[in-house]
């Protein structure tokens, strides 16, 4: 559906050229939810804007739904943009128009007759769950409702691709989840390809099939979300993964526990998919003469399976502990010994 090949974007600036996107290669499949994660300034915004021609790459080629976006212009580009719609962090609704007229705007642009427009708007309002708010103005809506209008507006012309530019970053956690569920629902129901950029790993975990991590304009890591969670390669990816697998206070709790139990070992187990479903701990206790103390655990759901972390404290003879760790390693479970330092 989308192919990005050797794409570079260089902006001129007073202090010399700035490379916002540096030699990015990605292929995004039809019907996939693809996430791009990175901190601000990583180039993800520029990258997503090149997908609908709001930015033109300095080098390389971008093909979306069979169209080479960097080469087309004028009416062909406008036509293409009706098939590649976009939703925004700050919603970007027209405050002078009601919900109904905001959703009708892309239909007006596409030249749909008024009667059909009203019919289509009604369908869209139902799809995003905004029945009864058609005559409200954006200023009378909550953030989540505004984004629903944004989504309805983006879907009006039956696009093939939906680009989400930090679509949930201005929303509270609960609203974020409801918008993400709506996106998954749309993806399944309409088979729409979704590309989203975010700085929240939570968003990636919740709805993406595959993810690319960007840093300094480059894609430093990419792959199926579960694999990236299981086995993050880059330091930045590990930091993002920690955002969802470790609650914030974990580090302090562990430190506290380490000082509380100077004996034995604290280890972190990471389970992926089926690994999470085996009675590992009871086997461990049964087979090894050790004290096993469960400190903290968390399971996260991703679009391609579940992922969990568990912190346990093992106390007993040194040889027994080493044996136990080796035993755990024999399953498909990641083990990390946490040292007191």
């Amino acid at each position: 559906m989308i192919s990005i090949k050797n794409v570079k974007k260089i902006y001129p600036s007073k202090d010399g050229p700035v490379t916002a996107v540096d030699d990015v290669n990605l292929a995004i499949e039809n019907g996939e939810i693809f996430g791009v994660i990175g901190y601000s300034g990583a180039g993800k915004s520029t990258l997503i804007r090149m997908l609908n021609g709001l930015e033109i790459p300095t080098e390389g080629s971008i093909v979306v739904a069979g169209r080479e976006m960097s080469k087309i212009g004028g009416s062909e580009l406008r036509q293409a943009r009706q098939e590649i719609s976009m939703i925004f962090q700050h919603f970007n609704l027209l405050w002078s128009r009601t919900v109904r007229d905001n959703i009708a705007f892309p239909l007006e642009i596409a030249g749909v007759p008024k009667k059909e427009r009203l019919k289509r708007v009604k369908e869209l309002v139902n799809l995003v769950g905004l029945e009864g708010r058609e005559n409200s103005y954006p200023s009378q809506l909550s953030g989540g409702q505004k984004q629903r209008v944004g989504i309805a507006r983006a879907l009006a012309n039956n696009p093939k691709v939906l680009l989400c530019d930090e679509a949930t970053s201005a929303l509270d956690p609960q609203t974020t989840d409801s918008i993400l569920e709506l996106l998954v629902d749309i993806n399944k129901r309409l088979g729409l390809t979704i590309v989203l950029i975010t700085h929240e790993m939570h968003v990636i975990r919740k709805i993406c099939h595959r993810v690319a991590v960007m840093e300094g304009g480059r894609v430093v890591e990419s792959g199926p979300v579960l694999n990236v969670f299981k086995n993050p390669q880059q330091a930045i990816t590990k930091r993002f993964v920690q955002q969802v697998t470790e609650p914030e206070e974990t580090k302090e709790t562990i430190k506290h526990l380490l000082s509380l139990y100077p004996e034995g070992q604290v280890i972190q187990l990471s389970f992926v998919g089926e690994g999470a479903e085996q009675p590992l701990i009871s086997n461990l206790i049964r087979n090894h003469p050790l004290m096993v103390n469960i400190l903290q655990g968390k399971i996260s759901q991703t679009q391609n399976g579940s992922y969990g972390t568990l912190f346990i404290h093992l106390d007993g003879e040194k040889a027994q502990i080493d044996e136990a760790i080796a035993y755990i390693r024999s399953f498909e479970v990641g083990v990390e010994v946490i040292k007191n330092d």
Partner: protein, 222 residues
Amino acid sequence: MIEEFFPNVNWERMWEATRETLYMASISVVATFIFGIILGLLLFLTSKGNIWENKPVNFIVSSFVNIFRSIPFIILIVLLIPFTKIVIGTMIGENAALPALIIGAAPFYARMVEIGLREIDKGVIEASRSMGAKTTTIIWKVLIPESMPALVSGITVTAIALVSYTAMAGVIGAGGLGNLAFLEGFQRGRNDVTLMATIIILVIVFIIQYIGDTITSKLDKR
């Protein structure tokens, strides 16, 4: 009672002068609104980072606006006499005041239009582009409606300025309340005529302000 306070006021003359003032003001307000929006849009669209970014055009329009905005109105009328003669055919009467009124006020209003357009969220324009909107669609369906409260409050201020410009134009022969106050009130020493003309102008200004404020608050759904 009124006759007592305003013994010298010829009410028929006063009414006629009021009509002339209203005529000059309303025609020039409409024309200023149109030309001001066109100039304001040009200023906005050709400025840096916008759809028609174009330095030379922006420089030319901007200079034109600055020059005509800076010339004191009374001097502008005199400077424009040859131009007025060609366009209107005379330099006496209400119509003769119109070119100077419009050329004096449109640049003033254009700057206000530009400010109003700058206040539109850039994201909204970007969103419209991402939907495949043409520039004309963006102008008609995004820029103008989204800046409408600013455009209306701007034209209110400009209309009030135009009422006072018509009084100035009256002094050099364009008719209206200014003309009446100057010729009959000042030159003949009839202060009651000047006072009555002032009161009527004040009433006109208050009405314009009231209408402008009402429309602005009705339009503003933010």
